[in-house]
């Protein structure tokens, strides 16, 4: 399926760091595609001239695109063994074309409830130079 191995509940332990996912650098074309696919046509993400008028150096990426990268990561981790019941992200620093985003996760908590096994993951999206652009979490059940 994807670049990583899907999780198996029996192999997880609390505090475990999972294999990260490094995305290719964000491009301006990608921002145009994401605008079209998501319906978020705020020109801040696609029009450099507009972005400069509001005080930016140029366009910035949609926060939801970065959350989309984390969503790709979580869905890959879940694979066909697990379902996603919750997924959230708090938005931090801005992301620009050319930035490479690395998604990483730590197993925060493992527990069982009503016959299902749950894994709560702490998620992070950071730029290649170590600046965190978003914090998140996801709950998977097996």
């Amino acid at each position: 399926m994807a670049v990583m191995t899907e999780l198996e509940y029996g192999n997880l332990r609390e505090g475990q760091q999972l294999e990260p996912l490094t995305k290719p650098p964000i491009t301006k074309v990608q921002l145009v595609k994401y605008a079209g696919a998501s319906g978020d046509f705020n020109p801040l993400h696609t029009d450099d001239e507009f972005a400069r008028k509001v005080g930016m150096d140029g366009v910035i990426a949609h926060g939801m695109l970065v959350m989309g990268f984390l969503g790709e990561y979580v869905r890959d981790l879940a694979g066909t063994n697990a379902e996603i019941s919750g997924f959230k992200m708090r938005f931090g620093a801005m992301t620009r074309p050319g930035d490479t985003i690395i998604c990483s996760a730590t197993v925060k908590k493992l527990y069982s409830e009503a016959g299902k096994n749950y894994a709560e993951l702490d998620l992070q999206a950071e730029k290649a130079h170590g600046k965190v652009v978003g914090w998140g979490s996801a709950v998977l059940y097996f």
């Binding site: 696919a37 319906g39 989309g68 869905r75 997924f87």
Partner: protein, 146 residues
């Protein structure tokens, strides 16, 4: 204009959203997400879902399709602070979702530039049988007037 608690409980218009194959494909491609569960029908047919599914953040696209919303907000003061999705089941291609946005909370916190308001907007998505499929929860930071 500052918001007050009277906005809590306000709802937007109900609308219907069809989860379409082509739209899901374009969305996954924009993210660069090559998971075959989104685009490969033969692969998806063999999976636990038996059909194509939508990526997790596709739920945001569904939630932002909504009709007229009953509060006037100054978009220059709005910041998307946090986004959360609660899934009761996987959203699949072919779903017809009946959606409605509502203001579920408003609270304040003191920030450096004055009182910040936080507005929680929930879009609930139900399937044709009336079962809740997912909630898209958006936390908007409403900054003080400059």
């Amino acid at each position: 204009m500052e918001l007050d608690e009277s906005v809590i409980g306000l709802t937007g218009e109900k609308y219907t959203f069809d989860v379409e194959k082509r739209h899901v494909k374009q969305f996954a491609e924009a993210i660069g997400d090559q998971n075959p569960l989104y685009t490969d029908e033969a692969f998806a047919a063999d999976s636990r879902y038996g059909q194509l599914i939508a990526p997790p953040t596709f739920a945001m696209t569904i939630g932002s399709e909504g009709g007229d919303f009953p509060i006037e907000l100054d978009t220059r003061r709005m910041l998307h602070g946090e986004q959360e999705f609660i899934f009761y089941r996987q959203i699949v291609v072919g779903d017809r979702l009946h959606c409605q946005m509502k203001v579920s909370d408003l609270y304040e916190k003191e920030g450096k530039s004055g009182t910040m308001q936080f507005l929680i907007l929930d879009t609930e998505m139900e399937d044709d049988t009336g079962d809740l499929v997912a909630i898209s929860r958006t936390n908007i930071i409403y900054r003080p007037k400059a």
